[in-house]
Symmetry: C2
Subunit: 253 residues, 2 copies
């Protein structure tokens, strides 16, 4: 179990690097980043610096680092086309025997652009030459600030984007813990919705957790005045608790 | 951002160590484990070895390691009482100036016994002396085996225990991606449920991922013959996809 996994020639690695702290990468992520020939670092258009790149800075020596610019656009076709172009470049590097690691904030399979790149690579690269390394997702960092369980016993956890408020309202009654990503842009609407459902005191919020500075932690939204906040805002709403069902109750169903 | 966090005297750390591979701990988890005075390692009654302890073995030197035995019992009261007892012991260590780290497989706030210990500590220890370090949860490791997105765009991810089949059936229509923990014990019932909903081909399963040996990965459950499998089995069901809603559609709601 202590075998060290390092970047191999001709292989591609999708690396989750966690929220943005250099010490919240996994050891495996560090080992692969340190040994890769080429690091791809995605950067949304308009962002003035790459958080992801800053997080891995202590692990960079002579790797070739390439920034992949992309637009934050709610358009599936143009998004996939952009990443298919990146996939072609990755395939060229891999067939030339290079090891390529794409870094992603959070986890590469949870609301991450890396998923589009993996789709684009699926046809051109053997599955055995692709490795995904999971990373700490923002909801885990957010929850860690409050010290209490996201889920216990029979609780259901729902994780979704806050952007579709009707879907958010429905979700409130379909789970015990609701985690909303991208809560920053619709904060006023969310507060109104929580007030309507008498859930303000059960809702918490973290912005830019473990990203070095600008962290905002709100323990109880009932006394919170909305302010301009980052896109990277995670809300955790405890809608209820679902304890263990007794075995006989389970069998009756 | 490259400040190193180490275990401090009188502090308690709830450390998620990920699925069981030594290289899937975060750097922060390793730093705290290496610098802690006392490591608490939970072990369910009847388990013949501690996976968690094996995972951190490379990081152990002269720390005092204590095994915390507990029963896997679906009884809230006796569970909390057991952990309140452990909390008393932790408080004694902390007031004697020791640093104490409790390790947990996965993430300490996602279906983890550590949550009961944190509840037990909340009254006796300053919040500032408690730190939770998130860890890679089993669903992330499971998903990493398949290389495709858990969620994209407006997808809703639901994470729950498989034990209550009626709740599982309801969840199938309330999310796009359903992740079931503890799927091993009810595998036949789950397969029948998926067949009924024509979702067998959209369901995948991983048992004991990244735990060194005995890993079972099933990419498509439509051609799977159930077998005796570990309690630690995670099923991922892709019930659908929910693309970006256009802004005008959002406003209409």
């Amino acid at each position: 179990m202590s075998n060290i996994i390092t970047a191999q020639p001709g292989n591609f690695y999708a690396i989750g690097i966690g929220p943005g702290s250099s010490d919240l990468l996994t050891v495996r992520a560090v080992n692969i980043i340190e040994s890769a020939d080429i690091i791809l670092s995605p950067q949304a258009e308009g962002a003035n610096r790459s958080l992801a790149l800053a997080a891995i800075e202590p692990y960079l020596q002579d790797q070739q680092v390439e920034t992949i610019n992309y637009q934050m656009k709610r358009d599936s076709q143009s998004t996939q086309e952009r990443w298919d172009g990146v996939a072609q470049q990755v395939l060229e590097y891999c067939s030339a025997g290079k090891s390529v690691a794409m870094i992603t904030l959070g986890d590469p399979l949870i609301f991450a652009t890396t998923s589009y790149l993996l789709l684009g690579l699926a046809e051109g690269l053997d599955k055995g030459k692709i490795q995904v390394v999971p990373g700490i997702s923002a909801f885990q960092t957010a929850a860690s600030r409050f010290h209490d369980a996201l889920t216990l016993q029979e609780d259901r956890l729902m994780l979704m984007s806050a952007t579709d408020l009707a879907a958010v309202e429905t979700a409130l009654s379909n789970c015990e813990t609701l985690v909303l990503y991208k809560a920053g842009g619709v904060i006023n609407e969310l507060l109104a919705l929580l007030e309507k459902h008498e859930l303000l005191a059960m809702a918490r919020l973290v912005s830019c957790a473990d990203q070095g500075n600008g962290e905002l932690v709100v323990d109880d939204l009932s006394s919170f005045s909305p302010q301009r906040m980052s896109y990277m805002t995670t809300m955790i709403i405890h809608c209820g608790r679902r304890n263990w069902q007794s075995q006989s109750a389970l069998q009756r169903r």
